[in-house]
């Protein structure tokens, strides 16, 4: 399950999806909107995607994870549009026979999302808004 959606994401749906009788572990990662970034008071994050390509890239990195680690099932759902403080913007769930593979594949997935999947966040903060363009959460380089 590799999706880009507009509505809130239900973690339980992903956990159910990756549940597998041969799995001894399910690892989940939930990325949420934090109320501050680099000293700014964040009001919300507004995500935009190239949805068709983003879903394709998510599936590609899922296949890559499956080739690298002994995992059973993987699900990644990324939300777009405004995501309020505390709400999830991305959820990853991975099942594996053993926890080490599940942890590593999950970590790999979130790091890869931040590198190559065509999704962008605009930070709406008190006093303005800015497109974020680096992994460390800094504004996009000079434009």
């Amino acid at each position: 399950m590799f999706r880009v959606v507009r509505e809130p994401i239900d973690p339980q749906e992903l956990v159910r999806y990756v549940t597998d009788p041969e799995a001894g572990a399910i690892v989940t990662f939930i990325g949420t909107t934090r109320n501050n970034n680099e000293g700014r008071k964040v009001i919300a994050l507004d995500y935009e995607a190239y949805p068709e390509m983003a879903e394709k890239e998510l599936a590609r990195l899922g296949a890559e994870a499956k080739a690298k680690w002994n995992i059973r099932r993987m699900a990644i759902v990324h939300r777009i549009g405004p995501v309020q403080i505390t709400e999830p913007s991305v959820i990853i769930a991975v099942s594996a026979a053993h926890r080490d593979d599940a942890f590593q594949a999950c970590r790999f997935a979130i790091e890869e999302i931040k590198k190559s999947v065509p999704i962008w966040k605009k930070e709406v903060f008190e006093g303005g808004e800015v497109w974020i363009g680096t992994q460390s959460g800094q504004p996009l380089a000079k434009f």
Binding site: I119, L140, K142
Partner: protein
Amino acid sequence: MKVQIKFFAILRERVGAGEIVKEVKEGCTVRELWRALQEDYPKLAAAETRLLYAVNRDYVNADHVLKERDEVAFVTPVSGG
């Protein structure tokens, strides 16, 4: 020939459209298309950010030669997650 170009995030805002169709010459590369767009849209000219290029939803390099009706996207540094 015509190609379809998609803009997202800051590029969409700079261009004022999410999607355009543009006439290009046979043999036009992605890099040449980007330069032509910078002339069409001066607000793109100031872009100093790193760009990735996608054609038909796959990343390609800047020397990639375009074909009729290709879907091209310019990808500024991504920030999902």
